[in-house]
């Protein structure tokens, strides 16, 4: 960054002569110090996982959850400044509630990502505010069923709401990542925070775009990736936090929930085993699972 110190990094919303907004880039730096967060889009659901770094031994284990639920069917995990993350979640919940008030139905994940992208981007436009110090991963399951309108009292027409194409697929798992600039893309696998480079290369190995990975495999992979991405030398302790959303006939019935304790512990056991295996022969260990 040769142009640092030229004065163009002192105010938000000011471009440098070569077309950069330094305040946004510094916000990205804040994210790069946060614990690793990942999201995986599996064929029948979404897994969100977080490496929650333990800042004090006085904190109660398992308390202070960081992955939040928005409406019933979406989850948000973020990396970076924690209070910014909480504000992001708070806004996301308000957006989802407002969507319901207007349209009397749950927010599609894509719509929430769009609204939140616009919201975050607004914090790059004014000198009176600073950009969000978080990159957030939003994952959700949009219902594949014909849902009743909120507060609907009757059954409505037998043909349903109409306006739908025959044979087209509706609903499914969706995953988005929103950066401090307001940029957001939909992903098969998303990673942010300290260990994002390692996590991304691990995610690429899963060939998620082929759509073969099941939700349960996804949970195990997510745990393993968080363990692989964790840097033992720099950070000592972390807690693995994992949530998931499945289809209506899956384990969470379309709701965003914490991964059950048994499954999470099993995934952690396998993750640790895979890590130990890394030292002698990596491949054999993984084939066994």
């Amino acid at each position: 960054m040769t142009s640092i110190g030229t004065g163009y990094d002192l105010s938000n919303s000011v471009f440098s002569p070569d077309g950069r907004n330094f305040q946004v880039e510094y916000a990205v730096k804040a994210v790069e110090n946060g614990g690793t967060a990942i999201g995986i889009r599996c064929k029948d659901g979404i897994v969100l996982a977080l490496e929650k770094l333990i800042t004090s031994k006085l904190l109660k284990p398992g308390a202070n959850k960081r992955i939040a639920t928005v409406d019933r069917n979406m989850g948000v995990v973020s990396s970076g400044l924690l209070p910014d993350g909480r504000h992001f979640v708070s806004r996301a919940r308000d957006e989802a509630a407002e969507w319901r008030r207007l349209y009397k139905s749950p927010t599609p994940t894509s719509a929430l990502a769009n609204r939140m992208g616009s919201y975050v981007q607004m914090y790059t436009l004014y000198s009176s505010v600073r950009p969000f110090g978080v990159t957030a991963i939003v994952g959700g399951w949009d219902s594949e069923a014909e849902l009743p309108v909120d507060g609907q009292v009757g059954s409505g027409p037998k043909v349903g709401s109409g306006g739908k194409k025959d044979g087209a697929k509706y609903g499914g798992p969706f995953l988005y990542m929103i950066e401090p600039s307001g940029l957001y893309w939909g992903y098969y696998g998303a990673a942010t925070g300290k260990g994002r480079q390692i996590a991304k290369s691990e995610l690429e190995k899963l060939s998620l775009s082929e759509g073969n990975l099941s939700l349960e495999e996804g949970v195990k992979e997510a745990a393993r990736i968080i363990y692989v991405a964790h840097d033992d030398n720099k950070d000592k302790d972390f807690e693995l936090e994992m949530t998931w959303v499945s289809s209506l006939d899956g384990p969470t019935k379309g709701r965003h929930e914490e991964v059950p304790k048994e499954l999470r512990e099993e995934a952690e056991r396998l993750a640790k085993k895979a890590l130990e295996g890394d030292d002698d022969d990596d491949d054999d260990e993984k084939m066994e699972e």
């Binding site: 308390a63 959850k65 939040a68 639920t69 409406d71 019933r72 919940r93 989802a96 509630a97 319901r100 009397k104 909120d150 507060g151 609907q152 009292v153 009757g154 059954s155 709701r255 929930e257 914490e258």
Partner: protein
């Protein structure tokens, strides 16, 4: 044109005379809902030893017109609470959406225990009382059925005035007159709840629904019934009254064309 903005765009006083501001006044004070429009009739409920049964027919009347015949007035809140709505249907929809948003917000904290029937009754009665104190009541009579904090059967009502009442059996609207005495024959007091099984309670409530269909002109033979126990909520929304007998109608005198 002068420099008083408040007169811009108004008819000129010197041409048309002084403007009569009373044209902008609406007649009388602001009025809220004075009467319900589309209504549902009775809701009937009874406790039994492991839970509560609650039922209401699927009719929404527009005055005396049977306007909507597939209206579900028994609403599940979660796995241990069901709310039955008598009275205005649009106010029921409002309350349904309110409860839906409450449930969404409740869902955000994973550690807390879910809201039970007692919690929900307290909440709803406060909503009803607040609205009547604003002279803008929600025109409903609600029965809240489910389990309380100790997983014991819970049944209570809240009405448009904010009045609350709890009893082992409850019925709203016409049912308060016709069904309540029948329910009390089997469940006279809190102690007798222990002697009533689930099947007996379901049979009792179904019997009440039948009597109400015979006698209440704003009722329907299609109804919804829910049973709430520790196992969860068993909600059926397309039940039909069985074994109807209209033989008694022959004996009714005083209506129609007969003279004796």
């Amino acid at each position: 044109m002068n420099h008083f903005p408040q007169t811009w765009g108004r008819p000129r006083d010197d041409v048309y005379g002084a403007y009569d501001h009373s044209h902008f006044q609406t007649a009388g004070p602001q009025q809220h809902t004075q009467s319900p429009i589309v209504t549902g009739t009775s809701v009937v409920a009874a406790k039994f030893k492991d839970g509560v049964v609650i039922a209401a027919d699927n009719l929404a009347s527009y005055g005396s017109l049977a306007r909507f015949t597939d209206v579900k007035r028994i609403r599940k809140f979660n796995d241990q609470v069901v709310v039955g709505f008598g009275g205005d249907v649009s106010d029921m929809q409002y309350l349904d959406r309110l409860l839906n948003s409450l449930d969404v917000r409740e869902n955000y904290s994973t550690t807390e225990t879910p809201l039970n029937a007692k919690n929900l009754h307290t909440y709803l009665s406060k909503v009803m009382y607040k609205r009547r104190s604003d002279f803008n009541p929600l025109w409903n009579h609600l029965l809240i059925a489910g389990l309380d904090g100790e997983s014991k059967p819970f049944l209570a009502s809240a009405d448009l005035l904010g009045t609350t009442f709890a009893a082992p059996t409850l019925a709203t609207g016409f049912g308060a007159h016709l069904a309540q005495p029948i329910l009390r024959r089997t469940v006279p007091d809190e102690a007798s709840v222990q002697n009533v099984s689930k099947d007996e309670a379901v049979r009792l409530v179904k019997e009440c629904m039948k009597v109400l269909f015979y006698r209440d002109a704003r009722s329907l033979d299609k109804y919804s019934i829910a049973v709430i126990t520790k196992e969860g909520v068993e909600l059926k929304q397309d039940e039909k009254l069985e074994n109807q007998s209209w033989a008694f109608a022959e004996g009714i005198r005083g209506y129609g064309t007969q003279v004796n």
